[in-house]
């Protein structure tokens, strides 16, 4: 019965998770639904607390990154991969918080619980990414999902908002139930809840059909969070329904942790033995192909830019899953690099809406007309981010794809690589449409009139985040070595035990 207090090393593992969670618990005390008469400094305080918590968490993680220790507490293990993911989540959350200050002020809807839920979600994600124990994994999944369900519907003045939340909830709950069923089956057949132990444990029936079903259901849960086809349909509705920063956060962080969890669960092709490995690879292949095809095609015909970005995020899931198909350490490293750039790109892209002051349901291409020239800096950032999303060199987005395609080709999946580049081509079509709207089309007269009448948009924080995104995207194009060698490479090496 070692129920004593955690040791200092154990605290080190807990702190990054506890900070956001505690902040999340505290914030509602100050600002639970008291938006009407609340003082501005209280609002500012709440945001400051949130940022402080994230900052502290970041500091801890960064500090851990410098040391060689990988602290753990019970089922929690902050290895390099977890540290990478933690930083990834914290940065995404911080950017989202910064953007949400502007966005919610534009919407006139500043609520403390939004930030609180966001922070809970951050904690959940960290838990999710730092464990191999399926029980904790499931709890982490729920801890970050349930706040997100609520966050999606947080703008309750809008009817589409609650509709989106509800859709997310129902599909998410079904997926979670499948995931849970998978966990139960795996547990039942192996007697352990630790997935990394499971595949190495003697007597594990790796080829048993029931076991395979368990793995399959587990995959369903992950793929749902990754929003890979055919488990993707919630994505566009939910992103459109969410506030812009939340949509960005969801698109980045949810997908990121789910990909990391997939990397953890399926590190390489041989991890699950000679029978299951190729089969899982086959599933990945099919999913990747379907995702690339469906997501890109659908994105092409959207009229809402935000919805397009949602589909684009689905298609990026496709590229990431391609990395799993290759399954080499290089590919997994590439995936992490891709994720880092993807964070910058998507937080930037969703941040654009806030930066341009597009509130409410103004998220179509028509609403974007001519904005690139009106805000030149944002325009340039938008162009950089969008071209990076499409994978045009020399921006960061290209290198992510480059690393994944390189490994794909090296492992003989030339067809998939070709499909991947064709998908990129199609994706260029819809990113160009965004750019066309921003730069190549003059605003309509109604928009001009509206722009002169409307108050000046205050979105310096959001613009800052977009700028950060753009800078990261460019940096990713020119300093890829630092990113790759500094973080991604080590994380994968640590995971695969290659160090």
């Amino acid at each position: 019965m070692n129920s004593a207090l955690p040791t200092s090393a154990q605290w080190a593992a807990l702190m990054p998770i506890l900070f956001p969670a505690l902040a999340a618990a505290v914030i509602p005390l100050a600002l639970l639904d008291r938006d009407a008469g609340v003082q501005k400094w209280i609002r500012a305080g709440v945001y400051a607390v949130a940022l402080f918590a994230l900052g502290a968490s970041f500091m801890f993680l960064a500090e851990l990154g410098k040391q060689s220790s990988q602290p753990s507490y019970q089922q929690l293990r902050l290895d390099y991969l977890a540290q990478f993911t933690g930083i990834f989540i914290v940065v995404a959350a911080a950017l989202a918080v910064l953007q949400s200050w502007d966005h919610f002020h534009q919407e006139g809807w500043v609520k403390g619980e939004t930030i609180s839920l966001l922070l809970f979600s951050v904690s959940g994600m960290m838990v999710f990414a730092s464990t191999t124990n399926l029980l904790v994994l499931f709890l982490g999944l729920e801890l970050f999902s349930i706040p997100l369900y609520a966050l999606t519907a947080t703008l309750r003045s809008r009817s589409s908002s609650s509709e989106g939340g509800l859709k997310y909830f129902i599909t998410g709950a079904v997926a979670a139930a499948c995931f849970l069923m998978g966990i139960v089956i795996l547990y039942g057949l192996t007697g352990t809840l630790d997935i990394s132990v499971m595949r190495l444990q003697a007597g594990t029936p790796l080829a048993d059909p029931l076991f395979i079903v368990g793995i399959g259901l587990l995959l369903v849960g992950f793929l749902f969070k990754v929003s890979a086809v055919p488990f993707h349909q919630w994505t566009p509705d939910v992103y459109v329904a969410s506030p812009h920063p939340i949509a960005g956060f969801m698109s980045v962080a949810t997908k990121g942790v789910a990909i990391v969890a997939l990397i953890r669960a399926f590190p390489g092709l041989t991890a699950w033995g000679p029978v299951l490995g190729p089969k899982v690879q086959g599933v990945f292949m099919l999913v990747a192909v379907l995702t690339l095809v469906v997501a890109n095609l659908t994105a092409l015909v959207q009229t809402s830019a935000k919805r397009m970005l949602a589909y684009s995020s689905i298609s990026h899931a496709g590229y990431l899953v391609l990395g799993l198909v290759a399954g080499t350490p290089g590919a997994l490293t590439g995936m992490l690099f891709y994720l880092a750039i993807y964070l910058a790109m998507n937080m930037g892209a969703f941040g654009l809406f806030t930066a341009f002051g597009l509130v409410g349901e103004k998220d179509t291409y028509e609403d974007l007309r001519g904005l690139g020239w009106k805000h030149p800096l944002m325009g340039l950032c938008a162009a950089l981010i969008l071209f990076s999303l499409a994978g045009v060199p020399p921006l960061g987005g290209f290198y992510g794809k480059y690393m994944i395609f390189k490994e794909l080709v090296a492992t003989g999946h030339v067809n998939l690589a070709i499909l991947g580049v064709l998908a990129s081509l199609v994706s260029m079509g819809y990113y160009l449409r965004f750019i066309v709207a921003l730069f190549l089309q003059a605003p309509t007269q109604a928009q001009e009139r509206e722009a002169t009448e409307a108050p000046v948009i205050q979105a310096s924080l959001a613009r800052g985040t977009v700028l950060v995104g753009a800078i990261l995207v460019v940096a990713g194009g020119f300093m890829q070595t630092v990113l790759v060698d500094g973080f991604a490479h080590r994380a994968i090496q640590g995971l695969l035990g290659l160090r």
Binding site: M1, N2, S3, A21, A24, A25, P28, L32, D33, A36, Y73, Q74, Q75, L76, K111, E113, T114, S116, L117, F120, S121, S123, G124, V127, L135, V136, L139, G140, E142, L143, I146, P147, Y149, A150, L151, A153, T154, R156, S157, S162, G165, G188, L189, P205, D208, P209, L210, F211, V213
Partner: protein, 163 residues
Amino acid sequence: MFLTFAILALAGALALLLQKNAIEAGLCMALSFLGVSGLFVLLGNPVAAALQIIVYAGAILILVLFVIMLLNSHEEEPAEVSRPIQRWGSVALVAVLGLGAFRLLNGSPALAELAAKPVTGASTNLHSLGDMLFSQHLLGFEVAGFLLLAAMIGAVALVKKNL
């Protein structure tokens, strides 16, 4: 006994599926939960059986019924468009999955091996459960606590009256 409880659980669930009235469906669900809790007893797990009754049938279900009353939507609203593809596709899908599950249970050697083992161990008691919960699963417990708090905040955030 197993058969009785199993049928109770399944029949309750099936009735829920086919029931038009939401309140009656809720009651059918309660029936199903009772069956499940009976199964738990058979599995030598009275703690779980009790929790099933208390939490599920007692708390969650009552919550659902509350909401049904609150929204005053007892009967299913008439469909605007009949969607045969959705309906029959779903039926087919569930049937296929059911068939698959059936075959799976008969076709899994590992499961057969496990089932062939004698059932050992005493039935679960609260004491050992608590021990376990607060030692090895303290982390999970904390996370679950946060989860409940988050859900509460979320629920509050979502249903406040003023828009």
